[in-house]
Subunit: 153 residues, 2 copies
DNA sequence: ACGTTGTAGTTTCATATGAAACCATTTGCA
DNA sequence: TGCAAATGGTTTCATATGAAACTACAACGT
């Protein structure tokens, strides 16, 4: 057996995860890096948390959702959504009405001020996405889309 | 202009992000889903947080790291690492010594108890990874690896 | 040797988070 | 109709988190 080298590898009998090749680990690093870059963009201009931005992005895409539907679309829990909405409504970025046929439900929409922020942030988010995708060639981008479709299904 | 349909799409002049095709959003959902599945596995058997598991996994792979090096490897901040280590040392899962030539540094290693947990959890984590990869064929798996290599570089 | 600057790690403090309890309303059904 | 169960949403409470301040030690120049 050779003499142990400096950054000592853990003993072989334990079979540690090779994190640098472990899919969940790599996905986590990649995802956090990208999301944080986008968050830095909008946090430097507006006082918006990541959860608030996600809610706004969903409401931009789907007008009139209820809070529960926002939670589904964002994959956030309903408490987080409730709090994000409280802040957004308070700040005048989201309008909240009560559903006609069900007084429990809210009917949520971006206000004009909310849209103004959205229209400034969305292009920055798209620019970040382009930056990431620029590291790939056309063929790789097609495969990535296909692979994500399958993994998310 | 046609009459508006039920789940009203937001007005076109605002160009909302199409989240279902937006890379950062899709990566975030995928990564969180996988990490949470693994966390459910070890949390059901041991009282370990996600940050604690990440520290353990890194120490399994690289014995004798300092806290700062753990922070680098896990992409966690040093406060989170410091606290995770405090709990792990307290619970007897990690041994902490002082570096010979630099008394500021810790020299961190999994204890026997830590290794026992590692050796139980690591195979479960690998099984989850296999579950995910099972959705892909061999060609797609090769592309995924190549694409992640490029995106993470 | 001595003071300045840098680094490892912890503590403090203010904020964010999630589970569970809660309130109001609606639904299902006797 | 009336009442139990379910649902949308908020509040409470205990815990997690990160930025900044802090302590201890090391490195460097004088």
């Amino acid at each position: 057996m050779p003499v142990k080298r400096h950054p000592a590898p853990a003993t072989a009998e334990h079979a540690p995860l090779q994190l640098e090749h472990f899919l969940p680990y790599r996905l986590s690093i990649l995802s956090n890096t990208i999301s944080q870059a986008i968050a830095d963009d909008y946090q430097s201009r507006h006082d918006i948390s990541m959860t608030e931005w996600r809610v706004m992005a969903v409401l931009a895409r789907y007008a009139g959702l209820s809070a529960r539907e926002v939670a589904e679309r964002t994959a956030m829990d309903k408490v987080a959504v409730s709090r994000a909405l409280a802040r957004l409504v308070e700040a005048g970025r989201v309008d909240r009405a009560v559903h006609d046929n069900d007084k429990r439900r809210s009917v949520l929409n971006l206000s004009d001020a909310g849209w103004a922020i959205h229209d400034e942030v969305a292009p920055m988010a798209r620019a970040r996405e382009r930056e990431v995708l620029a590291k790939l060639n056309a063929e790789e981008r097609v495969w990535l889309t296909r692979i994500l479709d399958k993994l998310l299904s």
